[in-house]
């Protein structure tokens, strides 16, 4: 069984982002970029499934401008067997990404498609659900545990939901999106980084995949959130209780 993992290049989680003065977006030039943390977790899960003997190949996939190749090389260094880059300089909203992923799934025919639950730049949390809908595959979103049963051809997925943990059993092929506690991703070791240089990255364009990426969304502006009023440091517990009671009136 092949596993396909979608990975996204995003602004690093530790960066303090700045909104551009012209409100057209967030400043991303000269800013540290990394693999989306949820995508790292997805790739790690795929690698573990392969290492347990339940999958033959892990394919990392990314869509976007030429710099995506850097993120794919990191994925290959972690242990993915090969990679696919769908090159596009246009903005790709989640629905377009879902359509492109479906086209790649139709080509590669994996038994499992793994995505991060959300990208930490747009925080959309949509793509996995959408590609599952387009493929008419079952979905296990916000997964905190995945157990594959090759004999019964199912995946048992434990999910983090508002009320706690929910367990579903999905027929394969299926789409899984990863939550934070699914695993701890490995670091790429130097020997693996070197090996990754000779692994294959295949390129496609949206046109070659017959996918129309024209979007039905338009970003009008990006602004800063309202700033909170500066607070005060109180000197003691008594002072705190007094302020909460008599100044803030919350207790």
């Amino acid at each position: 069984m092949k596993i396909m993992v979608a990975i996204k290049r995003v602004v690093d989680y530790a960066v303090k982002i700045r909104v551009k003065p012209d409100k057209s977006g967030v400043e991303t030039s000269n800013v540290k970029m990394s693999m989306n943390p949820f995508c790292e977790i997805g790739l790690e899960e795929a690698l573990r499934i392969k290492e347990s003997g339940l999958a033959s190949e892990v394919i990392a996939v990314s869509m976007g401008p030429s710099q995506c190749v850097d993120t794919l090389r990191t994925g290959l260094a972690m242990g993915a067997d090969r990679a696919i880059h769908v090159e596009s300089s246009a903005i790709l909203y989640p629905l377009s990404v879902a359509k492109l992923l479906k086209a790649l799934v139709d080509v590669e025919k994996p038994g499992l498609l793994i995505l991060g639950k959300q990208a930490i730049d747009d925080d959309c949390n949509q793509t996995g659900q959408m590609v599952a809908g387009l493929l008419n595959w079952p979905q296990g979103t916000f997964a905190s545990k995945v157990v594959l049963d090759k004999q019964r051809d199912v995946a048992t997925v434990e999910r983090e939901v508002d009320g706690g943990l929910e367990t579903l059993c999905l027929d394969l092929p299926a789409v899984i999106t990863t939550d934070l506690r699914l695993n701890q991703p490995r670091y790429a070791t130097l020997p693996n980084i070197m090996k990754a240089k000779s692994k294959v990255i295949k390129k496609f364009t949206p046109q070659e995949l017959n996918v129309d990426i024209k979007s039905d969304l338009e970003v009008v502006q990006v602004t800063e959130p309202p700033k909170r009023k500066a607070g005060v440091i109180v000197s003691s517990v008594d002072d705190l209780i007094d302020k909460l009671k008599n100044e803030a009136h919350v207790i």
Binding site: L95, D123, A132, N136, P138, L168, V219, V220, G231, I233
Partner: protein, 350 residues
Amino acid sequence: MAAQVLRRKTLANLSAHSSSLFSKSSFSLQRFISTLVLGEHEGGSIKAQSLSAVVAAKSLGEDNSISMLLAGSGPSVHEAASVIVADSDTFMYPLAEPCAKLVHLIQQKGGYSHIMATSSSFGKNILPRAAALLDVSPITDVIEISGPQLFVRPIYAGNAFCTVRYTGAGPCMLTIRSTSFPVPLTSANSKSDVAPISQVDLSTFGEDKVCKSKYVNHTSQDSERPDLSNARIVVTGGRALKSAENFKMIEKLAEKLGAAVGATRAAVDAGFVPNELQVGQTGKIVAPELYMAFGVSGAIQHLAGMRDSKVIVAVNKDADAPIFQVADYGLVGDLFEVIPQLLEKLPEKK
């Protein structure tokens, strides 16, 4: 008793603007808005969070015909029923695959201009899948509705707001953040027209065409404490609590204040508390009157989940902790000394 009050509240909210599934759309010179709200229910009552979606739907415009869809099985869904009921064993558990397919079916019959759900794990799981079936880009986690097709949503863990316009021909599909659309308290005695109830014809649903996913089980913590998502006061602990045993201090303080308990990712990862207490960018978003954070450093990802709280209190040994930059009241001190003092000196909850 609570269920009846909730049902009455729901019907009061929907009454002025509800319509049955099969009413004809009337096209006038004014843009006609009709909204389908995906409602979440449990044990015979509509979940409070779903009512936020109704509040948001009302803000789309004056002439908005709002219908709530409830999918479920047997008596429990009929008790909660307000407008559109899909009653079948297929919907015994809110699985994304049949629910998204149901929305697709209903949209094809009903031609709604808007389809909405709350941005809960239910809404987040189902609505995007339904959107893909309808070839529509959804807009998720909306915090402000600026126009029938114009929405504001947070990006980069809430450090920027993005205003997005939907330009497609299909229905406008969104999930809304319930803390941004609070449900006004309605008096239990308010007289309301009962919204008509209609049942979905599921004869063409086609069980075989729905792909297979099965509900196995779920865990949950029954607690007498208020629900984290809409509690008036939240008391949160971080990794500095050091153990699940110590975390009980947070619980005691929450009990004293009649508050809900929250936790940082670090505290959940360390096993002090279960995952449903996590507040943050990828956990729960809360906006209580009072948020008290003990031993919480204030990482960007945690702030994303609580920065809209009215009053923020932070207690931390480290004077340079980022949390003090958002706190209205900060106390630099050892939580193991501060919490016992608070327990002693705080007035009993009203």
